[in-house]
Every structure is written in C-alpha cells, then in structure tokens.
Amino acid sequence: MANQKEQDLILRCQRGDQGAFKEIFDQYHKKVYRIAYGMVRQREDAIDIVQEVFIKLFRSIRNFKGKSKFYTYLYRMTMNTAIDHARKMRKPSQLKSEEDWAQFPDTTEKEPDRLLFQKELEERINWAMAKLPGEQRIALILREVEGLSYKEMAETMGCSIGTIMSRLHYGRKRVQQLLGDEFGIKVEE
C-alpha cells in the first residue's frame, strides 16, 4: 500500500490534477529512465520510452486501485513499454556477432588507458545485454540497477520468486560468458 502522501498525490492525479501528475513525474522519471536506458542502451530511445510511459500513466491512472504498490504498477508499465520498444528496434544486423568481438583488440594488454578500457567495457556490456532475452535483461536491471528485492521483482514481473532467481542466474551467467575473463568477470559454473 502506498504511503498517505503518495496516495493523496495519486488521488489528485485521478481527478485530473496536472500539477499532481508533474509531482509524480518529478518523483519517478529517473527510475523510469534507468530501466528504459538499461533495456535499450540508447539515449533517444530511452527518452521516447520515458515519454510514452508517462503518457500511458496519465491515461490509465484512474484504473489504479491501490491494490499493489504504485511503483510496481509504474515499473510494470515501464518494463512492458521498454520490452516492446526493444523488440521493435532489435534488428540482428545491428548487433555485433561474437566473432566481431573476438577480433576486437584486447585493450587490457595493449592499451593501458583506463578510460579506453571503461569505454570498451561499456560497449561490450551493451552488446551482451542486448543479446539477453527481454525477461532476463529486465530482471538484471531491476536487481542490479534499481536494487529491488526478489519479492518486489516478482510483483513487478508477475511471476514467482523462483522464476526471478532463475532469470537472474541465467542472465548473469550469459553476460559473464559473453564478456569473458579479460574484464574480471569470470564465468562460473
């Protein structure tokens, strides 16, 4: 159940108060952006998702009955919008193959510059995350970035805690495999 202040804010939104809706935006836009960016890894697309989520929220907030926590309601909306968006933009030709990455120079040995290493790591993380199925990717983002508990994740994703643990396990394992040892992210069986 949302706290009293949040409940009042939601009630005002449900009555069409745009000032209250702006307060909701101020409170949650960064969380929505983090999930969106984590899913699509591109600034413009993430902004589009943020916009789409808040417009959807404005249209549907009257249907929010307060049975679940508001943030799980919003996260679910963000997650579904981001998965749809990622599905639309995901074209196999845009993703590098594992062979492409194998040819990528090993910067840890030849380039001592830490910034370059970070940049390559970021690119490679983006690539590895894009390779994951949507459910595993969102599970990793909700846990590693948003720090949600298994229970909160299960509520948001509409599945059991066991499924959440399984998605996290296979998601981590796959990313570790794709990144390889040179980034200090060792594959463990």
């Binding site: 943020v50 970021e122 970035v145 990144l179």
Partner: protein, 169 residues
C-alpha cells in the same frame, strides 16, 4: 579437510541480500578460507558495477525539463475532460460515495424536502386574488360582486337596507 565450494544459487542469494541469517553465517564462514568463492563473489560485484555505471552516467548527462514539456503538450492535446467525466470521476473517487451510504442519505434528503416544502409552499390566499368587480347601489339593496381570479368563483353580496330607512323615506 577443505569444505566444498558454495553453490552458485546460494552465493547469488547471499550477494542479493536474500539469504537467511543462517545461510549468511554459513557463507561468511566459508568465504574466509575459500579464494575461489571470493573470486566468484567479486566477479558478481564487477558485473553489477559494469551494468550500473553506464546507466548512471547517462542519467547524469540527461536533463529532463524538456521531456516534461513534451509530455505535458501531449497530455493537454488529448485531455479535455467534460463536466460529466469530471462528475463521474468525482463520484467514483469520493470515499463516502464508495461506501454506498449515499442511498439512505439521498432518501432522507428527499423526505426532508417533501416535508419542508409543505411548510414553505403552503397556499396563502392573498387579496390580490380577490377583486371586486362591481358595486351597485340601488333603491332596495346594494349589490357587491366579487370574483376570485384563480378559482373562477363569483360571489354576489347583497346588502339589505333596513326597513326603517325605507319607511322613513
């Protein structure tokens, strides 16, 4: 004899702060003497940082007021609530009305209005409704004619003159 390494699932639960107190103690005791499990834990931390950092960096660079302006424009374009929609949403949201107490409240109000209206709207005939149409004086009698406007009733009043006066005259 060295303890066997921890299962990946237990280590993940510990890393995600979802392990029970007993499991936490078990893992912490094991980690002291197992460099392999320490590496696995470190690897998960590195992965977490690697996923999180670019997102936080992107967020720092972003400014959001213009995003809100775009959202606000979209909202205003489509949001023109009619008075009926506003009324319906008010009905749906007012906690008192949600509790269905409005049926007896409404019934009581109707009865009250019915009773009080009897007092306020009681018909009091006024003189304006009665008008004298004619007053005729004659030798024998005087005649006055009244007419009630709304009820369409005509009253004819005959005043008899005292006989004495007649005899006098």
């Amino acid at each position: 004899m060295k303890n066997p390494c921890l299962s990946q699932k237990l280590l993940e639960r510990y890393f995600d702060q979802e392990a029970s107190p007993e499991e936490r103690t078990l893992v912490e005791n094991h980690l002291i003497g197992c460099s392999s499990c320490q590496r696995r834990l470190k690897s998960m931390e590195t992965l977490r940082e690697a996923i999180k950092k670019p997102i936080e960096k992107a967020l720092e660079k972003e400014t959001f007021p213009w995003v809100w302006e775009r959202i606000e424009r979209e909202i205003q374009k489509e949001y023109k609530a009619s008075w009926w929609e506003s009324f319906r949403s008010w009905l749906a949201l007012t906690p008192m009305l949600k509790r269905k107490v409005w049926v007896p409240v409404l019934a009581t109000l109707i009865i009250l209005v019915g009773v009080t209206s009897q007092i306020f709207f009681k018909k009091i005939p006024s003189y304006s409704e009665i008008s004298v149409v004619k007053y005729v004086e004659s030798y024998d009698n005087d005649v006055m004619v009244y007419q009630l406007e709304k009820q369409k009733v005509t009253v004819i009043w005959v005043f008899e003159k005292p006989e004495m006066e007649i005899s006098d005259s």
